[in-house]
């Protein structure tokens, strides 16, 4: 690890073998950032540390998105009341292994973390009216049973297809396994036409699992409202647009769409929902 690879700590949280929830800024259906933001709003944790971006992110320039300057952030939060840690970060552009080791250094050496969960969305050819399924991948088998009790699919089979590469969450799971830290990747289905937008229903689904597993006592009213609003908006679009009506009906009946039909549906839903904020 080079001299650049370092972290800043503002206070040492008083926790007893807490659990950690990890969310990455770029995610399918905005799942990771949305879920962590929601937990920050609901649980009001305290920010206690951050990883310095130098050595992990290109600092040759800073991007501007949606008129706003962006800067990579990798922040740790602690919630003493719930004995919980949160980590929210952009995915590093380089030195991935060192980044993950440093993340684990903070939560293991300073906070004595017991286990962790990463959040992530996976694109599904499903309708938004179908229930979202959460699947897990664990690095220690004893985590499977408790997750199965909350309806999580714990029997996933997967091989990286040619041309793809493993996710940062998978890499973290492997690094943690080498350090004997138990963890699970939680993958939640997101309808393909919501992948570039937000999917509050997927967010609620995975948070419900964590709520039960970690006894967080979350009030989901806010997310329920969002889900209802999104459903209402898509229903309105369905009424207006014959194509959208046909494609959504096909999906609800389990009929596959062609590539062109899928693209049309995704672009019409995106345009409609983005106009309505």
């Amino acid at each position: 690890m080079s001299e650049w690879h370092s972290f800043k700590i503002y206070s040492t949280p008083r926790l007893q073998n807490p659990c950690l929830i990890v969310g990455w800024s770029q995610d399918v259906g905005g799942l990771g950032p949305k879920a962590i933001d929601f937990l920050i709003r609901k649980l009001r944790p305290q920010e206690f540390a951050q990883l310095n971006p130098a050595g992990f992110f290109s600092l040759a320039g800073v991007p501007v998105e949606g008129d706003v300057l962006q800067f990579p952030q990798s922040k740790f939060y602690s919630c003493e009341e719930k004995n919980l840690l949160l980590f929210q970060s952009s995915g590093p552009g380089q030195s991935h292994y060192e980044f993950l080791m440093l993340l684990l250094d903070v939560v293991e050496q300073i906070c004595k973390v017991k286990e962790f969960y990463t959040l992530g969305g996976i694109i599904s050819l499903m309708s938004h009216t179908s229930p979202r399924r959460v699947s897990s991948v664990v690095n220690q088998p004893q985590l499977k049973k408790p997750l199965a009790e909350y309806g999580v699919n714990t029997n996933l089979e997967y091989e990286t297809p040619i041309g793809a590469r493993p996710t940062l969450s998978s890499f973290l799971l492997w690094v943690a396994q080498k350090r004997n830290i138990a963890g699970a990747n939680l993958w939640t289905e997101v309808p393909f036409y919501l992948a570039a937008l937000e999917d509050p229903r997927a967010c609620k689904q995975v948070l419900s699992v964590l709520d039960q597993r970690l006894d967080l006592g979350i009030d989901f009213a806010e997310l329920d409202q969002e889900i209802e609003q999104q459903n209402r908006q898509i229903a309105a679009l369905k009424e207006q647009e014959g194509d959208v009506h046909r494609y959504l009906t096909m999906l609800e009946r389990g009929i596959m769409l062609s590539e062109k039909e899928s693209e049309t549906l995704a672009s019409k839903v995106a345009e409609f929902l983005q106009k309505r904020g």
């Binding site: 991948v137 996933l156 089979e157 990286t160 493993p166 998978s170 890499f171 492997w174």
Partner: protein, 298 residues
Amino acid sequence: MSKGIRFYQEPRLDKPDLVAAWPGIGSIGIIALNMLREVLEAEPFAEIEPWRFSYPHSLSIKNGELESLKFPESKFYFKRTGTKDLLLFIGGEQPSEVMKGYEMTNLVLDVALNLGCQRVYTAAAAVAPIHHTLRPRVWAVPNRQELVAEARRYRNTILMGDMEGRGGQGAITGLNGLLLGVAKSRGLPGICLLGEIPIYIAQFPMPYPKASKSILEVLTANLGLTVDLSSLDEQAQEVERNIERFYHLIPEEVRQRIDQLKHVGYTKEEKPGVITEEDKKRILQEVEEFFKKGGKQD
């Protein structure tokens, strides 16, 4: 021994030479090294722990459990040939960060020096204005002045100083060059052998085993080895058939320009052939410009 190396065994060798390569243009160096490893039946003895240098390339999940995460492999092999003990290093991937590349080359040299290594060779590609029907030459770039005279004696080999307009200067990108630079700073002599690949082939993800063979001819002669390289000829013929198929898809006018590379040399000693010096410059410039534009005509 260095942290970051996993040993399967520690061979006892007598003043071995190291031959190393990482993936690069036309896979020229890697094909040469893999061929050498195969024909010599070299034995693996160590590997670099890859996770600090590479992002994983594949994942396997079985029944909801993380079974494996695989990285590009970078392995060491050895062979006692009877004439010369050899170390081979075959890199799986060039690290994308410069400092990691520097660190990796130092790890390779740590292992080699610890085993008494006397000299380093690297194998790579030289992108050159040549025609694919010609036998590729080898550019030799030593890391010490006293090796220049030796390199001049190699067959089918040229030095940077032999090239028109270069004044003996140039650059070798990637770890195949960096390793020799780091070796120089650590007092280890070495030579980079670069097999020529035509400029119009170099930009495609296509292997070019003909150049690997040219490198191996120089290398094995230097190491006093006699090896059968006929399987490389078969690979080269197969690739050449593919190139010919692609070649006939190129517009006639451009193909005619490229065809002139059969008669045009770019080194000082070569005769101008059937065209003038001025023509030669123009052809090379036109061909280069055509391919800089991604092979599209105006």
